[in-house]
Each structure stands twice: as structure tokens, then as C-alpha cells.
């Protein structure tokens, strides 16, 4: 009964304090605490036996702030040395459970203070609050007082904050999509915003998610790499190329100088995403180029217009080099497996593959010349390698023919010897019989 009464008292105090004045600046630790110390907050909260109150105290044992020596009062204020309800005295800076803008304010007291943060991690950014203010979340919170938008604690798991490099962190690269998806994939929660809620599911079909989750490349992009983390916002139509260009620099540069860059902007079409989609970015292929079938160019161009003809020519060039390279590679592989020494043409053929990859990148200039320049060079290398593969297989055939002829001769010789032996033995056997 005493526990229930204590729990109710704490909840009531929290509710009262939440509507009270903002946390006193003095509540912020001026210097780093030496080590975590036991305080009355944890003791009482654990004693209540109520998961709503004990849960945060338990979760905080794994929090990076606790490891750095911060107790409950660093965020919630109050007096950890006082016992019972006195510990939660608003006069002692107690603010209860912060919500909305106050969460940003509480976190920002330390995280926006460069001098303070230097004590813990000199390279840590301190512009999260400023970034947040620029985000869609921050703007809606500030301008519309929207209580549903994400604040610091929505993504960083209050009381269980871990560094992003920790695999259990809610902001570890492999968990970011699910963290954002907790709201953005919830159709009911997002209904009032009238925006799609399939981004997470689409992203999990993309090459980027595959690179990260299946191939273990944690540098592959997730939500925050394109939208920003604290400054999360959709990239504007004009920005998309810049965003993708952070990694795909060659294609972004070619696209930026192309006829499509200006035309897409005028048409309100998002650059890269117009052909590659945004969240559901699938593996690319030569089938995307052309003016017919499932080619992406065909969604705007006809085979007979200038763009369609260019696309068709570029596709023809790519197919020619890809076909020639594949033919030469297959032939050299066959010769290698048959025991022929073809490492030199195989080594040289790698330059044809380089040319093919560069030609595929050159597509983003949307003119024939740069693609043709790469393809012509690659074709010459691939044809030379193919010719050497043909010679290697001819040599192999010659050797095998020679082997067969040699075997036939040896077998004939053995047969002849056997016949000769029988012939030599026959008269002696006859002579033995007659005698």
C-alpha cells in the first residue's frame, strides 16, 4: 500500500512539475561528475515495483550518460541527496518528465555547448539543436506546436542512449530505418500528415539496404544519410542530385552538366530519383537504357524523337561492348579451364571491363560521344583478347589431335608387337607338338 501511495505521489509530482518553469540553468553540471553515485531517485523508483517508474531507472544502467557519471538530476533536476518527495522539489530545479520542446531544451543545454561537450568528445558535433530547428520535425513543433513530431528522445531511446556505433543503439546504421519507421511506417499515426508510409518497406528492398544488411557495408546510406538526421527533411527537387552525388560523384557531375538537369528542374521532376526511384532503388542495368520495353527513357521519349534515338544508340553501344566482353571472357575462361596459359589476355581484358563500367557511367551525360569513346576503346581490347582466346583454343585442339594420333600409333605398335610375339611363338609350339 505504501508503495502504491509512493508511486501515485511520484506520478502526481511529475505531472505538476511538467507544467512548471523550465529547468534552471544551474541544473546543468558545470564540469564532469567523477563517477555515477547512488541517488534517491533510483532507490525510490526501483522500490515502487511499478514498471512505468522502475523501467527508466533500470534502463538507465546501460545509458552512455550514466557511464560518463551523470545521474537522473542532470536532465530531470531535483536533489538526489534528499529522500522521498523532497528530492522532487521544483525549488531545487526539478522539472519532472520533459515533453516536446522542453526535451530539446534539456538535451541542448549540454549538447549545444561546445566548451562543455569538449570534456567528453572533442569531435562531437554541437549543432544538433540548430539542425533540429531546421528540420520538418522542429519547424512543426515550433510553428504548429505539433505534439506528435519526433524530438531527441523519440529516436535516442530515453534512459537507454548508446553511441551510434553500438549495435544496440536505436541510431546504429542497421537500426535507423526501423527507428524512423516506428512513426513513418505507422499508417494510423501518420494519417493526419497525408504522406506515404511505405518508405521503410521500400527502402528494405533497395540496393542500399542490401549492401548494408547483407554485405555488411555500414557506410551504405540509410534514412539519415539522404534526409539528414537532426535536420531531417525531404531533399528538394533541386537537391536530389547533390544528395546522391555525395557518393555517386561521377554520375552526379555528368548529370549536372546534362540537358536533363535543367529540364527536370523545370518540369519539377526529381533528378536521380526520376529514373532510379528514391527509397526503392533497385540494381541498375543496361535494360534501363533505350526507348522501348522497360527502359526508363521510354517513360518520356518515343523511339522516333531525338532523345529516343540517342537512348537507342547508347543502348546499342553498351550491348555491343557488354556482348564482346562477355564473349571474350567466356572463351578465355574455357581456355584456362582446359589448362591453357591465358593469364595475359585475361589481365588485359580487365581494361575492357573498366571501359564498360565507365561507359555505363557516361550514360548520365545523355549524349552519344562520351559513351562511344569508352565503348570504342573497350571493343578494341575485348576483340584482341577474344582473338587470343581463339588462338589458345586452336592450340589446344592441335595438342589434343597430336595426343590422339600418338595414342593410336602407340596402341598400334603394342598390337603389332603382340601379333609378332604370337607369330614367333607359333612355329615353336607346332614343333613341340610334332616332336
Amino acid at each position: 500500500m505504501r508503495r502504491v501511495a509512493a508511486a501515485l505521489a511520484i506520478v502526481l509530482a511529475c505531472a505538476l512539475a511538467a507544467s512548471a518553469a523550465p529547468p534552471a540553468p544551474a541544473a546543468k553540471a558545470a564540469t564532469a561528475p567523477a563517477s555515477p553515485r547512488p541517488d534517491s531517485c533510483v532507490t525510490c523508483h526501483l522500490e515502487t515495483g511499478d514498471d512505468r517508474l522502475a523501467g527508466p531507472a533500470k534502463a538507465y544502467t546501460d545509458d552512455i550518460h550514466r557511464a560518463k557519471g551523470f545521474g537522473c538530476t542532470a536532465c530531470h533536476g531535483g536533489d538526489p541527496n534528499a529522500e522521498g518527495m523532497e528530492a522532487m522539489d521544483p525549488a531545487k530545479g526539478y522539472i519532472g518528465k520533459p515533453a516536446g520542446a522542453r526535451i530539446v531544451q534539456v538535451c541542448g543545454r549540454c549538447h549545444a555547448d561546445a566548451r562543455f561537450m569538449k570534456q567528453y568528445n572533442p569531435s562531437l558535433r554541437v549543432d544538433q539543436v540548430a539542425e533540429y530547428e531546421s528540420s520538418v520535425h522542429g519547424r512543426r513543433l515550433r510553428e504548429l506546436k505539433d505534439p506528435k513530431v519526433a524530438t531527441c528522445a523519440s529516436c535516442h531511446a530515453p534512459h537507454g542512449i548508446r553511441p551510434p556505433s553500438d549495435a544496440l543503439s536505436t541510431v546504429h546504421p542497421l537500426r535507423v530505418a526501423d527507428t524512423c519507421g516506428r512513426c513513418h511506417a505507422d499508417a494510423k499515426y501518420m494519417a493526419s500528415y497525408k504522406i506515404p508510409t511505405d518508405q521503410r518497406d521500400k527502402y528494405k528492398k533497395s540496393v542500399h539496404w542490401n549492401a548494408m544488411s547483407a554485405k555488411g557495408d555500414l557506410s551504405a546510406p540509410t534514412c539519415n544519410d539522404c534526409h539528414g538526421n537532426h535536420g531531417a527533411a525531404p531533399p528538394g527537387v533541386n537537391w536530389v542530385g547533390n544528395v546522391c552525388g555525395q557518393c555517386h560523384t561521377v554520375m552526379a557531375e555528368l548529370f549536372g552538366k546534362s540537358v536533363h538537369a535543367k529540364a527536370f528542374t523545370q518540369m519539377g521532376v526529381p533528378g536521380c530519383a526520376a529514373c532510379h526511384d528514391n527509397h526503392d532503388i533497385r540494381p541498375t542495368g543496361d535494360h534501363m537504357v533505350g526507348a522501348t520495353g522497360d527502359a526508363v527513357c521510354a517513360s518520356c521519349h518515343n523511339p522516333d524523337d531525338a532523345g529516343g534515338k540517342t537512348a537507342t544508340t547508347m543502348r546499342g553501344l553498351l550491348d555491343a561492348l557488354a556482348g564482346e566482353w562477355d564473349k571474350a571472357r567466356g572463351l578465355l575462361e574455357k581456355a584456362e579451364h582446359a589448362g591453357m596459359e591465358v593469364s595475359q589476355p585475361q589481365f588485359e581484358l580487365s581494361s575492357a571491363k573498366d571501359a564498360l563500367v565507365k561507359a555505363r557511367a557516361a550514360i548520365h551525360a545523355f549524349t552519344i560521344e562520351p559513351v562511344k569513346a569508352e565503348v570504342d576503346g573497350g571493343l578494341a581490347i575485348a576483340r584482341k583478347a577474344h582473338a587470343r582466346g581463339v588462338r589458345a583454343l586452336e592450340e589446344l585442339r592441335f595438342r589434343r589431335t597430336g595426343l590422339v594420333v600418338s595414342v593410336v600409333i602407340i596402341v598400334a605398335l603394342i598390337g603389332g608387337l603382340l601379333l609378332k610375339i604370337r607369330y614367333l611363338e607359333r612355329p615353336r609350339a607346332a614343333g613341340t607338338k610334332s616332336s
Binding site: C247, T249, H337, S343, F347, S351, D354, V357
Partner: protein
């Protein structure tokens, strides 16, 4: 005993001898034909099994802050001499889409021209799309020869 030795026409003994002779002849034929068949139809092999290569390049020919492509089996490798004079070698096959990388003296990086991928001189992917580091090889200078081996 003498009876056994003087019965050459015993059909039972002849069968045993013929069986031994037939088996021996069969084994002999198999021993000859099996390697012949394996030669004519060799097994499929993976990538080049080259584990070590002696380069045609002399140590003095590799200037500081420069790199050279060499043939390692059927694949390209890159030999780099750092600004401090150390020789290092890596697979020159970019981990993104298998293009051949090259050395860029202006930034002292290994660079892939296909998609602007950068690797530092430890082979670590540091910029652009390459997802993994380059495979590092072991470089040994023996007299006037450079020997590059796959690390064990």
C-alpha cells in the same frame, strides 16, 4: 603336393590365373585412361591460384609517392611507394565494380576512375562508393627484386 604341381590343366586353377590376369589388365587400362581423361576434361577451377609473383620492376624504379600496376596471376595489382619510401602492394581491383584502380600522386591516394572511389595507402576505402578495403599483399625486396605475395 607333387600332385598339385603336376596338374597344369586343372580348370579351377586356370580360372583363378585368368581372373588375376584379367583384373591386372583392367587395372592397367584404368591407370592409363583415367589421367588421360582427366587431362582431356580438366576440372573447373576458380580464380587464378597465383600466390606470389616476382615483378619486372626494380625497387629503384619506383619513385616515392608513385604507384605502378603489375600482373598478379590474371588480375591487376598495384605497387605503391609511399612518400616516406615504404613499398606496399594491393589488389588493383576496385571493391565496387571491379575496375582497375590507379595511384594519384596529387592526393597520395589509390583512386578508381570509374566512380571516383578513394583508398588510402593502407588500402582502406575512404571516399566514394567502394564498400570494402583493397586486398593487401605482402611485399619483400630480395636483392634487386620485388616479390609480391598473397598474405597468409
Amino acid at each position: 603336393m607333387a600332385d598339385v604341381l603336376t596338374r597344369p590343366d586343372d580348370p579351377g586353377r586356370r580360372r583363378i590365373v585368368n581372373w588375376f590376369l584379367g583384373t591386372s589388365a583392367g587395372a592397367f587400362l584404368a591407370a592409363v585412361l583415367y589421367p588421360l581423361t582427366r587431362y582431356l576434361v580438366p576440372p573447373r577451377t576458380g580464380e587464378s591460384a597465383a600466390a606470389s609473383v616476382t615483378l619486372a620492376i626494380k625497387p629503384d624504379e619506383v619513385k616515392a609517392n608513385s604507384g605502378q600496376i603489375f600482373k598478379f596471376g590474371s588480375r591487376p595489382g598495384i605497387l605503391v611507394r609511399t612518400a616516406s619510401g615504404e613499398l606496399r602492394a594491393f589488389s588493383a581491383v576496385c571493391t565496387h565494380l571491379n575496375c582497375t584502380v590507379q595511384y594519384r600522386a596529387d592526393v597520395s591516394h589509390i583512386w578508381c576512375a570509374c566512380h571516383n572511389g578513394h583508398f588510402d595507402l593502407n588500402g582502406q576505402n575512404i571516399a566514394g562508393p567502394p564498400p570494402r578495403p583493397l586486398e593487401a599483399y605482402v611485399v619483400n625486396v630480395r636483392g634487386n627484386q620485388i616479390v609480391v605475395s598473397k598474405s597468409v
